[in-house]
Amino acid sequence: MDRPDDLLIRRARDGDTAAFGELVQRYQTRIYAVCLRILADPEEARDAAQDAFITAFRKLAQFRGDAAFSTWLHRIAVNACYDELRRAKRRPMLHAIGAADDDPRPEPGPPSRDPADEIAGTVDAVRALASIPEDFRVVLVLADVEDLPYEEIARVLEVPVGTVKSRVHRGRIALGKALSGEPPASSEASEEGR
């Protein structure tokens, strides 16, 4: 019943979108969770995860199987998240260019949240995670949310294992500080309290 990834990958590579749909079904929970924790916005996470799967389908011919499919897919998803973060940053800039000088820029609304976080009382942790630098956030999501071993994170991010370890440690310290109420590290601080 449970067909191995290899078989589905082969079929998808031949253009079988239903086989690829089965692969998406298999990985969507993990990939969506990665995107949601990196981007901290359900809609952006949905877009990034969807873009990641579509990119994966398009690039399937290049997947040689020298890395695990899951590792390869995580790499594409992290890159899709970086793309989404860049787009999100450009949005206010584009708005400023398009708006007349005397046209006040609308205040950004409160960030949307995943309902599960409201129930679990983890909204503060999500906010703290969103306040630390992106590179720290990405590595912590892979290490402490996804529980990937350091060697696999190194393959996902294409950086040396030593870099992963030191980035995880520094990221955890930054997150620990944010959780204990020290001011967030970036300009995102101004979003709160609106």
């Binding site: 979108t17 969807q50 129930i119 679990a120 942790a125 630098p133 370890k165």
Partner: protein, 246 residues
């Protein structure tokens, strides 16, 4: 004191082997700084482990519908939009690579000359260079640009080349340079390297200091990595960090 930086992550999440764990335990007995770090890191890991797994939207349905649409409609498939973004990223990398490496001025030239006498860059080599120049750049860096700068610096792999005397770039006063270094150290508790370049620029629109540091296995040993530490100009909070191996 040398801190077991690469072991502390594994210590916190329990992935260390027994002997490494014992070594860290012994270090923690005598090092208050690492004890504080381990406590903060442990709290962060617990908070992340408690996050609930979100229910994903129906991506399988959306993706297969999108693929079918891209195939049947003669219009541009959705993913082609990203060709432009990829191109923009390449341009950004090219711009950073083409940036003048450092300002002119007597201090810089002295530094470059001193550095060029050294056979190979070693960790802590910049210590002997008492005055460090603060480059004043108009560049707005983002994560990719900082990574590109780290990669570029790692490729040339030495203070003399990294500090190569390029076109005239304005430089700050020694006081400004000292403030920049202090600010980066305040942002990152474990920043104890001596930067080979200090840059005042902006990071994603926020005025920021960038410190470029050569790192290695031990003081006096050849550097094997370049790290870039980015701190908020005003609040001295961390903004970004990246490493590239030489």
């Amino acid at each position: 004191m040398t801190h077991p930086e690469e072991l502390l992550a594994g210590y916190v999440d329990g992935s260390l082997s027994g002997s490494d764990r014992n070594a860290v335990d012994a270090h923690l007995q005598t090092c208050a700084r690492c004890r504080t770090e381990v406590t903060a890191a442990g709290a962060a890991r617990i908070a992340l482990r408690r996050l609930p797994e979100p229910a994903p939207p129906d991506l399988a349905g959306a993706v297969t519908a999108e693929l079918a649409k891209a195939r049947s409609v003669s219009g541009t498939p959705r993913w082609y939009r990203y060709a432009g973004i990829a191109a923009a990223a390449v341009v950004a990398v090219a711009i950073v690579a083409a940036l003048p490496k450092v300002g002119s001025g007597p201090e810089t030239e002295e530094r470059a000359a001193a550095a060029s006498n050294a056979p190979a860059p070693t960790v802590g080599a910049a210590d002997s260079l008492s005055s460090l120049t603060l480059e004043l750049q108009q560049t707005d860096y983002d994560t990719a640009a900082v990574q590109a700068l780290a990669g570029e610096t790692a490729r040339v792999a030495g203070p003399s080349e990294a500090a190569g005397v390029g076109a005239a770039v304005p430089v700050g006063t020694p006081q400004q340079a000292a403030r920049a270094r202090t600010c980066v150290a305040q942002a990152f508790p474990d920043f104890d390297g001596s930067p080979i370049r200090l840059i005042s620029a902006s990071f994603e629109g926020t005025p920021a200091y960038l410190a470029v540091v050569l790192e290695g296995p031990a003081p006096g040993r050849p550097a094997d990595a370049v790290s870039i530490w980015v701190a908020d100009h005003a609040s001295c909070q961390p903004l970004s960090f990246t490493t590239a191996h030489i």
